[in-house]
């Protein structure tokens, strides 16, 4: 059984078909990339998985659960974490607080025990802190632990987003353009991290990315989309040489 399955998913905004009868599945342990020109519906696929949009038709299953049955806030509980294309961090909080929000799905305390900060609340905080510290070590964020997000440079914010998603202890990590706006060095770091996330942490990665170097460097399989529909699916090399993909990017050869 695949980890994530999309089956004949269609999404319409008014008259516009944003995602058109799309089906694909992501296997456990792989890095799966979605590529395509702007407006191809890549981020929309992410927003469908996050349940920000309701599909017009089709099924989305994760780990055997029907994702369409849960609220947007319920998706994280299954172990799906994500980052956003235009960074959506909690601006007026520290890096540490941001990462700790990632632990929210593991909350076991109730209102009363938190208001009185009972021993169970304290124990939970210690555990959260240990988990978060692992992520901080992994992504080299030690220097920024107590810094406010509002004052951080763009590249660091990008990493903090990944860190926050990792703090949720996910099975599947959705990365929405992890390398956009990063420098060459930062992109290289991101590449190693994605590789390590899969190898060391055993987390499946689904990403949308424009940087073909990064995509072919880390992904096992690539899905190419255009106009909300599937163009090609296969290894990076296969997809890059697929005639339909070349046509979508470069236009029809005359």
């Amino acid at each position: 059984m695949s980890l994530l399955e999309l089956e004949n998913v269609t999404l319409k905004f008014g008259g516009l078909t944003a995602v058109d009868d799309l089906s694909f599945s992501v296997e456990e342990g792989e890095v799966f990339a979605i590529v395509g020109p702007n407006g191809a519906g890549k981020s929309t696929v992410f927003n469908l998985i996050s349940r920000f949009y309701d599909p017009y038709a089709g099924k989305i299953r994760f780990n055997g659960h029907d994702l369409l049955q849960v609220k947007p806030s319920g998706v994280a509980a299954f172990g799906v974490a994500r980052t956003f294309q235009n960074i959506e961090l909690f601006e007026h909080a520290t890096v540490l607080q941001n990462l700790l929000v990632g632990r929210h799905r593991h909350r076991t305390t109730n209102l009363l025990s938190e208001v009185f900060f009972s021993s169970s609340a304290k124990r939970q905080e210690m555990e959260n802190r240990e988990k978060v510290e692992e992520v901080i070590d992994f992504l080299d964020l030690q220097a920024y632990r107590d810094k406010m997000i509002a004052g951080l440079p763009y590249g660091v914010r990008k990493v903090v987003e990944v860190a926050r998603a990792l703090s949720t202890d996910p099975k599947l990590l959705l990365l929405d353009e992890p390398a956009s706006g990063l420098s060459v060095e930062e992109t290289a770091d991101m590449r190693w991290w994605i590789d390590d996330i899969r190898r060391q942490m055993g987390i499946t990665v689904l990403m949308v990315e424009h940087d073909m170097g990064l995509v072919s460097g880390v992904s096992d399989r690539v899905l190419a989309m255009a106009d909300g529909a599937k163009l090609a699916l296969g290894t990076p090399a296969e997809v890059q040489s697929h005639p339909a993909v070349i046509e979508a990017y470069l236009g029809k050869a005359s």
């Binding site: 909690f90 607080q97 802190r129």
Partner: protein
């Protein structure tokens, strides 16, 4: 500069940074407890008033400062807390039970009100709560059999652990009662902020989409925030009623709502300190103005006639100045000054630089 070396996760989890900071706050508490011995009755009364406003400010701060939902209607919840408390006491319920229950009732009503208000954002929520506050005035008049209508109600002395506490008869005891509530509410607030719920408030404030993606249920979080905020506000209202002695439908007018919101803005949104700083400004501004008016009158020989609306005019100007030059309020300014001393001479002007972003509409058409 003090550098705190961290050797233990507990250092981040407990509310104080180090022993030095803890002892400062304990000293402050000791000074506050001893206030009746170093203040005369008039100023003790004023200080009590400041503390009551601070409780109300803490209540609104949960909702507006930490969850990002601006409310222009919290006077309605002050009123509910105040009336609930007195009605229970008049019905023979001991104050020590009536007081917490009054807060609970207010909190439950607040959480109920939150349900239809959940879909509203920004100014829509503000106008919703504003209308609610205006309606509350009329509702109190209409519910005359239980609220006493326009004639209002009188607060009887209440019993706390066998002591009779009364604003005028025993100002010291009333002050300690208020201080006790302040301390308890503040401690609860601090605990909340270092626990998952408090962080989820901040998450909802800063980005609803990513809060959702992290598994935070937006509606539930907002409802809880409303409930907690209104509960604390209800307690402040109950104390305000006791402090005023007599109150009617006009005691908790919409102007109080607006004043309360402005108070926490001046104090500094998103910080517990802000509620206290704001309360100090609100509480002592009238005193300060009357003293300075006398002074001006004495020096320049002018008349000392009361200028109607002066207080609000000055208050408005202070607020405008803060929003323009120090949007983080008094607390923000205080942080800067403290950092300046701590880092002397390495403070840079851009350390607290505000990030400006172009306004992008969320409307589609």
């Amino acid at each position: 500069m003090r550098i705190v070396f961290k050797t233990d996760y507990m250092q981040d989890i407990r509310p104080w940074k180090d022993g030095y900071q803890l002892s400062l706050y304990l000293l402050l508490l000791a000074v506050a407890i001893a206030a009746p011995w170093w203040l005369d009755d008039f100023y003790l009364g004023e200080l009590t008033n400041v503390l009551i406003w601070a409780i109300a400010g803490l209540g609104l701060m949960v909702l507006t400062g930490h969850t990002g939902q601006a409310s222009l209607g919290h006077a309605a919840f002050l009123a509910i807390g105040c009336y609930a408390n007195i009605i229970l006491v008049e019905a023979g319920v001991p104050f020590m039970i009536a007081f917490p229950v009054a807060g609970l009732i207010t909190g439950i009503i607040g959480a109920t009100v939150a349900v239809p208000a959940l879909r509203l954002h920004g100014i829509y929520l503000a106008i919703f709560t504003l209308a609610m506050s205006i309606l509350m005035d009329d509702i109190i008049v209409l519910a005359e059999p239980i609220t006493g209508g326009v004639a209002g109600k009188y607060a009887p002395p209440v019993g706390v652990f066998g002591f009779m506490v009364d604003r005028w008869g025993t100002p010291n005891e009333f002050y300690w009662l208020t201080l006790g509530v302040v301390v308890l509410v503040t401690l609860g607030y601090i605990n909340l902020l270092r626990a998952p719920l408090g962080r989820s408030f901040i998450a909802v404030r800063d980005s609803e989409v990513s809060a959702q993606a992290m598994g935070v249920d937006i509606s539930r979080t907002k409802t809880i925030s409303f409930g907690l905020s209104c509960m604390v506000t209800g307690w402040a209202g109950a104390l305000m009623g006791l402090y005023a002695g007599a109150f009617n439908n006009e005691t908790f007018s919409v102007v109080i709502s607006i004043q309360l919101l402005m108070m926490i803005v001046i104090g500094g949104l998103g910080s517990i300190h802000g509620a206290f700083f704001g309360a100090i400004v609100i509480g002592f501004l009238p005193q300060f103005l009357s003293i300075s008016k006398e002074y001006v009158g004495a020096v320049f020989g002018g008349s000392t006639v009361a200028i109607p609306g002066l207080e609000f005019g000055i208050f408005g100007m202070i607020l405008i100045a803060f929003i323009l030059f120090e949007p983080m309020g008094i607390y923000g300014r205080w942080l800067k000054i403290r950092t300046w001393f701590e880092l002397f001479p390495f403070y840079r002007k851009d350390m607290f630089k505000r990030q400006k972003s172009y306004l992008k509409t969320e409307r589609l058409r």
